[in-house]
Symmetry: C2
Subunit: 135 residues, 2 copies
DNA sequence: CTTGACCTTCCCACTGCTGGAAGGTTTAGG
DNA sequence: CCTAAACCTTCCAGCAGTGGGAAGGTCAAG
């Protein structure tokens, strides 16, 4: 067992495109993969777990830099859970911020749409609002 | 009146950085500004209104391409308000989509944070979840 | 006359990939 | 045995939407 895998196999297994894996290697997010005699990258089960970790962290919206920090913590047996928690909490705040921003756009726009007839006439409160001749 | 303005003045008045205004010109979002004898860009009140329009549309989260379409509609006296409305509605859908995405990240992460002690010990449900050894 | 605030163009950096070109390798089928 | 497909490799370029900064021209105040 523990047969080593080509990039296509880890890609499929981890859910990350091969391109993305190479990219992660190029920016030093993961260690350079070992190579076979023919130059192909060789991955282990451990590498696969790392990639799956990254995929999940990205899925929670962590930036690549944050993932880097999480990977360090993951590897650090003497970490404090408080450090991880604070990183996560900061990220939640950022998400809340972004959500609030989008919601306020959404509300403003929904309000304008409600007042637009949406027919064949050119009069449109959406455009009126945008050009400052609001109302 | 109608004195013409330098880029710095329209920038301040419209709220868009001068860099951004030049960028919008370079991608053809706005028409190339006229030039003074010394090569400086020259802007009119009309240009200012256009820039303010763009700024507001961007503030509602419309992409530059969407803004391009909105500008066309704005200039089109025979437009149908239905066209504008449908563009805006599509954008609201996109916002809703993005908001839902961020909220589901937020929820998932908040759930993990709640279960993390956040103390000096290394055990951390956040990392456990990320590496797939959840629970 | 000099200083500083403008303006110009240019090119690079960022985030996080994604696509494509040009080429080497391996494998399955005829 | 040959070919075609499906892998893999590297490198280069691009997306959005700016921001930063270099290197230089211009203009108004003191």
């Amino acid at each position: 067992m523990s047969e080593s895998l080509n990039i296509g196999s880890v890609a499929e297994a981890s859910g990350l495109p091969a391109k993305t894996i190479r990219y992660y290697e190029s920016i030093g997010l993961i260690r350079p993969a070992g190579r076979r005699a023919n130059g192909y990258r060789r991955y282990s089960e451990t590498d696969m777990r790392t990639l799956a970790f990254i995929k999940r962290a990205r899925g929670l919206g962590f930036s690549v830099e944050e993932v880097r920090a999480l990977l360090d913590l993951w590897a650090d047996r003497s970490r404090r859970s408080a450090t991880v928690r604070s990183l996560a909490t900061k990220h939640i705040d950022a998400l809340d911020c972004r959500i609030a921003e989008l919601q306020s756009m959404r509300e403003a726009l929904a309000h304008l749409v409600k007042r637009c007839h949406g027919d064949t006439r050119p009069e449109c409160p959406i455009l009126s609002d945008l050009d400052g001749s609001g109302r």
